[in-house]
Symmetry: C2
């Protein structure tokens, strides 16, 4: 393997060679800022996934370093993210009880499976399958997930235990447990939530009005969760609120990421296969959109298939170091970018920062209330909730609206896996249904041009002996019979038609089933003494037709343009004769 | 409900009003001929389905009468057919042991479920879903089913018990049981098979050479199985071959179809839901192709959605009268047509004939060897086996070849349900993959015309400041990103391009995801000082775009024709200027 192909799989060899002191100092500054932001976020997402808090920190260390070696984005920050944490909780909640060893091991297995799948998709260059998630389905899924995530954290704010990964289950659990409400937790949680909302909405304008530079104001705003963590931890410790029923993080092991082994028994793989696939695809879609948005700003290039390899390596790394499924996160990547990160080395330095935090800072987190972490999650995910997609898609396409509304409803009612699968399935089915009943127009010549348009929409020249039909869809098995029926209905016996031209400008492919239908149409028209012609057949379609017998059996001709066809088949109707006749 | 809408659902009201003596005599003659053919065939297919022989006769009586009332084909003969019998055996073989009461009841449940599904599809006008079975998948499935059916009958010819509904299972079972081979059965079976093959291939030419009319020769040929049945029954009875181990049909109840109740417990419905759906669709596809082929010969019209209602009624009838799933059979319908049947009344008379046979003839069938029935099945289904579809599809389209080869292989290896599901799934996936990476051509003007073609295939006029891109596919979620990437790759910074035209003649739809991609492309080009235009946008696509904000944001224009666009944007390159420059 030569250097260029090696560096294709190891992008670090490209940017590493030109790494200099300037880049180093920029990357170090970005790393410090991101580390400060990530400590509370990692703990919170681990909580959301139902895992011990340290799992969130571990999931940010080795994965981020592996991504730095294999990934192509210079700004992407890899680690636990909200939606994937929710999906992890939903997937392994069916296998084991949260808080048990089995639960944590299942999270490792999920990360491993997801990593292997991402790696395989990347090596097989199958990254385009992510395109089958339509924009409305993604938007609907993210919105519904945001609601589920916020809902799942309500319990921590109220100081009660909530269970369930669907809205009905959560509401039912809320009614069952509401009597156990802890008022001190509630006050703490609501205060933290209000504070964080204010930081997000009100602090930045305030800082800007005080004369701070926008970038500095941004960074201070991102440090809001840290302030909330510090303040509530101190209050809880000072007043001994944990004795009053406020749930705290408690002791977190002071350690570097441990070496862990995922459980790869066939039973576990069988149970986690589908969830791992969904997590891989959703994670990849989230990651690649962030990476491409950021890369476009600096005219850098993202290689989707190599991104799969980078994310695959990161997840496999998470599986062996006490983490859980990770991906490129939106919030953390934007902070990394805004803080000036130039290369993936910033990520590696962030990992070092988190490793130091894992060893040195964890005792300080003993009195951190879980309600504070819940507040940071709620405030973060509510920005994901955006119902405007419903309105926008309704205005443009009922079909897209139907897909997004179904995705939202099913995600809320039956959980993330059902929701996203149904969204993808429905999009595909709606697309197929549409192409199975294509728009078919009878066309005529626009006077004074060589252009043909729908006779029902435009004033056009036609000839009674000539019918020209434009099929606005590729011909394939699902619509082959539809075209046959349309033509048989149009061509009644004794209608005076002598020639039928299929205008093929919108036909991008003809599969074997459609070829057989064309043969049948040709035969049937022949029996009625009508010749079948074609015009404007595209190069790739013509190449294929030439490999079949159809062109030999065709009763008519193939015309380069529809105008040629009309000139030849209905010379009296084409200009200048037409103009003379008018 | 007025008469015309009533007669839409009850086609019998249409043909019944003009029924006359001529039609009656033609229908009666056809009925006699079909009845003679159906007696052995019905017994044989019941054997194939693993049911007692009388089930085959019962399945031909009430269903055929109900179809006569509700169906739209004048020639279709409804009853047990080979492929559906095989699918029935495969489906209920998982639930109960062949020969038990549970097995026969499961067959009733399957017929009932299938009937309800067909009825529902018909009432909801969803008949077009059958179009999702591509021609190559159907051909491959029928070929593989023919092999499985023939394989399943080998045991009866050898006089041993064979089990399994897949080729590997059959072969394994053959090796296990071959030692139990019964030589007398083998001689009888082979003789019947050879005789029936000769009848099929050699008898008709012989009769024609003896001066018989072709129609008579045809009918005598179809009576071959009856001759085999009579001859082998007499031999077995005369020599007492059943005492030497030749398996015989034995006592068959002398009775009209009994009233039976299908088992509709949730467990059974759950287990049979998918098989019933597959049987419904496969049965419908087989039936509708036969019906349409025969109707075309007499310029009659088949209404697919009403056919679903007719077949649905027939299957529900089968469920309550001791039958099993039925559909319009190819062989019996062709015989019915050739014998001169004019209306569905021929079917009703056939039912009467079979009812008489059920009451009067069954004792005569006591000594009928099962090997004879197996021979009739083997000879009948081997005509279904046709591997030429592999060659034909390979020549035209690797993709279709792949679908058909996979369907054949999976049907043989894993059975009918896996085979046909995989075939349909694969066709859909291959279609989606193709549309997700569409052909995109850069086009230029063909000199002396207003026609634009691919710059790589034709000598065309272009202008350095103008790039025209023709996308040969509808734009939707699966290919939206692909178009973005293509354009960003084509439009390098400082390439001198001022205008980019998307020629939309092959774009039949733009979904919401693609609209967002177009907005992104428009923005990105704007940042590079390139205007985005469109030409030849179709009516339905334009209607949709007008409901969005996109047209307001579009930096360029919408041109009626690509020629208009070039005239306006690159006037120096368009004729007559172009001709002067040359």
């Amino acid at each position: 393997m030569n250097f260029s192909s090696l560096s294709r799989y190891l992008p670090i060899l490209q940017w590493g060679r030109t790494y200099n002191r300037d880049a180093l100092s920029n990357d170090l500054i970005a790393a410090v800022i991101v580390t400060i932001m990530l400590v509370p976020q990692s703990l919170a997402y681990a909580l959301l996934a139902g895992l011990p808090p340290e799992a969130g920190i571990y999931a940010s260390i080795v994965p981020i370093m592996l991504y730095a070696v294999f990934g192509t984005s210079r700004s992407l920050a890899v680690g636990p993210v909200a939606v994937v944490s929710l999906m992890t909780a939903a997937a392994i909640g069916n296998i084991a009880e949260s808080g048990t060893m089995g639960y944590a091991t299942a999270a490792l297995s999920l990360a491993f499976l997801s990593g292997v799948m991402l790696l395989a998709l990347g090596l097989l260059k199958l990254g385009f399958i992510a395109n089958f998630l339509s924009h409305p389905v993604i938007a609907g899924f993210i919105t519904a997930s945001g609601i589920l995530i916020a809902g799942s954290q309500i319990g921590h704010i109220l100081g009660i235990n909530l269970s369930g990964h669907t809205l009905p289950h959560m509401i039912e659990s809320l009614f069952h447990n509401i009597s156990g409400l802890n008022f001190i937790t509630l006050i703490l949680g609501v205060a933290a939530t209000v504070f964080l909302f204010w930081v997000r909405k009100g602090l930045k304008p305030l800082l800007l009005s005080k004369g701070l530079k926008p970038r500095m104001a941004d960074i201070l705003t991102k440090a809001g969760p840290v302030a909330a963590v510090v303040a509530t931890t101190v209050v809880t410790w000072a007043l001994g609120l944990n004795d009053w029923g406020v749930k705290i993080v408690g002791s977190v092991p002071q350690s570097l990421p441990p070496f862990t082994m995922p459980d790869l028994s066939p039973t576990v793989i069988g149970q986690l296969f589908v969830p791992a696939l969904l997590i891989s695809i959703i994670g990849f879609v989230e990651s690649i959109s962030v990476a491409q948005t950021l890369a476009a700003k600096k005219r850098q290039r993202i290689v989707p298939d190599q991104e799969l390899i980078g994310l695959g390596a990161a997840n496999i790394g998470a599986a062996f170091t006490g983490g859980y499924p990770v991906t490129g996160g939106f919030a953390r990547s934007v902070v990394n970018f805004d803080a000036g990160a130039e290369t993936p080395a910033a990520g590696a330095f962030t990992a070092v920062g988190l490793a130091i935090a894992a060893v040195a800072l964890t005792p300080l987190l003993y009195f951190l209330p879980k309600a504070t972490l819940a507040a940071t999650i709620i405030v973060a995910v509510l920005s994901l909730v955006d119902f405007s997609i419903l309105k926008r898609s309704w205005g443009y396409s009922r079909q897209d609206f139907f897909a997004v509304a179904t995705t939202i409803a099913l995600t809320l009612l039956f959980g993330v896996e059902v929701g996203v699968s149904a969204g993808v399935g429905l999009s595909v089915i709606l697309f197929l249904l549409k192409t199975s009943r294509p728009h078919i127009a009878e066309v005529g010549l626009v006077a004074g041009t060589e252009h043909f348009r729908n006779i029902r929409r435009h004033t056009v020249i036609t000839d009674p002996s000539l019918v020209t039909i434009r099929v606005d869809e590729s011909l394939y098995f699902a619509n082959a019979r539809f075209l046959e029926d349309f033509i048989y209905d149009r061509i009644q016996p004794d209608c005076g038609v002598k020639n039928l031209v299929l205008m093929m400008s919108a036909v991008n492919a003809i599969d074997f089933s459609a070829l057989e239908s064309l043969e049948a149409i040709n035969e049937r028209l022949k029996a009625n003494n009508i010749k079948l012609h074609m015009s404007e057949v595209k190069g790739p379609v013509m190449d294929k037709l030439q490999t079949s017998h159809f062109l030999h059996e065709l009763t008519g001709e193939i015309f380069l343009s529809q105008f040629d066809a009309m000139e030849k088949l209905a010379p009296k109707s084409t200009p200048p004769a037409a103009e003379a006749a008018e």
